[in-house]
Amino acid sequence: MKRYVVPPLGGFSRAGSLWTSRLKAVLHTLAYVFLFCGVANAEFRFPMPEFASGYEHPAVHTPIPSNAMVGWDVAVLIAALALASFLVLKRRKRREIFLLTMFSMIYFGFVRNGCVCSVGSVQNVMAGICDPAYGVPLTVLIFFAAPLIFALLFGRVFCAAVCPLGAIQEAVAIKPVKVPPAVEKVLSVFPYIYLGLAMLSVAMGSGFLICQYDPFVGVFRMGASFSMLIFGGIMLVLGIFVARPYCRFLCPYGVLLNWCSKLSRRHAVITPTDCIQCGLCADSCPYNAINEPTPAEAPEARSKGAWRLGVLILLLPVLTALGFGVGGLLKEPLSRLHPTVQLAERIAGEELGRYEGTNIESEAFRASDTPNEELYAEAVELKAGYGRGGRWLGAFIGLVIGCKLISVSILRKREGYEPDRGTCYSCGRCFKYCPVKE
């Protein structure tokens, strides 16, 4: 406990003087110390009064956290996933899928305030793996695993109609324009970078990046920090023209869903029977998630393609190694994400007279009486950790870029227009546009 010297205040009206009360406090303290050796003791400047009038002090009002909705959330999540799968695979009605999407936006978003969400749960799971002391509640584990399991079975039905972040973007996608496929491919690397950064941040203990930069939670809660609101506003305005910008170019959980959906047991199909290759579905898809059928004649000689593929496969370890090296160089900027490193740099700067005055963080640190050296040592250790983590992050990004290059260079044989299992959100727009009916 911090001790302050109590200044002698004029006009002190308590019975006795300040000094007698302090003496009493000291005596009380001594008595306690003698009676309860080793028990943490609160020292009080003023003794607690004994009231002659029979006054009894009110109880401290301590409402318990509401736990009632948690079970419901899991039930609603599973039910919504099951219903979304049914609508996407059996009913095939865009309108019905959209209605479920709006329900999810209202329930998981506005009613439940957008927390906990599956997108953020990745971080809890990572924290649970890295830190043995960190317990992940069962609800969060289910929110993490259920959409992935459903993606393994039925594709990204979670994105279609359950995720509140996807739902709010689906609601504002009024006039979507097509992003050129090449741009789409390049931008689709960002979710991997974001996922890697978020995981590194959790592993190093500098907080949950995905939650800090959640663009829509401020909308759901009708209030957030200024930067959060600006980011959310930009995403929503952009989302009118570029449908689901967060899902496509940022969402880190989408990376995992993409992987699972590629392996899905069943997936939404555009044409219920045979594709007549009219191409209407590809025009209707705002996400570039529909692959065209293979052209009748091969666009290039087989040997040329094989040669390129060979080069790209050789390039893969080169890119990974390059990423490993570059990632190590990012040690300094990455480590500044960590509050302890920021504080250490601030304190060091103050000691060197680089800053004028103090800020709230440095004041709190100085009040804690921790020696500067201890802080510096901790920061140095963290920086080394970021050096190691940065290398792995770089290697991961290099590997992802290499794999993406390989995947664009491979020509797959397709009879008709098919959804891309990885990137298709199963939103159901194409169902309506397909002229072939059952």
Partner: protein, 185 residues
């Protein structure tokens, strides 16, 4: 490649992916924990004022708590009166609280009770600082759990300069200063 072979391989990879997800979940959940909620450790809190400004809720879910059992019931209350107060009364110009959320009532000579009106309190901690410096420290900040939405990443915890925010079991969601006293006596 024949479609049947392809399907067999897909099934195998899918099974492997399912095992991977299961393994991840088990490894993350190996430490069974009860539901956790955010709370402020009053011993670490430095009353920087960010609880009032950084909560996702407006006004903040952080409120000033008063543990009456350790309060000195002083007439000259460091948490209630401004240091330059002209008089020891309920005059608005004498009050430290920027929103007038502390109600001072006379009990008996020379004792006064101070009660926080939680509907008005914004959790700025100005009174807490006053009580800590001049009094017993019976005023302190706590997260009120009927208000807190228990964000996965608490915005105040992220902004807290003294690392005072921590997760506590939902079954014991408060770190009351009066509990410290109850443990002793």
């Amino acid at each position: 490649m024949k479609p049947e072979e392809n399907r067999g391989r897909r099934n195998f990879v899918r099974g492997a992916a399912a095992v991977l997800i299961g393994g991840t979940v088990l490894s993350a959940g190996r430490n069974r924990s009860p539901k956790l909620v955010w709370q402020i450790d009053p011993e670490k809190c430095t009353q920087c004022g960010r609880c009032a400004t950084h909560c996702v809720l407006a006004p903040s879910a952080v409120k000033c708590f008063h543990s009456y059992s350790i309060c000195g019931y002083c007439d000259l209350c460091g948490g209630y009166l401004r240091p330059d107060a002209k008089g020891r009364n309920t005059g608005a110009e004498n009050q430290l609280c920027p929103v007038g959320a502390i109600k001072r009532t006379y009990i008996e000579d020379p004792y006064y009770q101070y009660k926080i009106d939680e509907d008005l309190c914004i959790g700025c901690g100005i009174c807490v600082k006053g009580c800590d410096v001049f009094g017993n420290g019976s005023l302190y900040l706590q997260v009120k759990h009927d208000l807190c939405v228990n964000c996965n990443e608490c915005a105040i915890a992220h902004a807290c300069p003294s690392d005072a925010f921590k997760r506590v079991p939902a079954s014991e969601p408060y770190l009351l200063k009066s509990d410290l006293e109850r443990r002793i006596s």
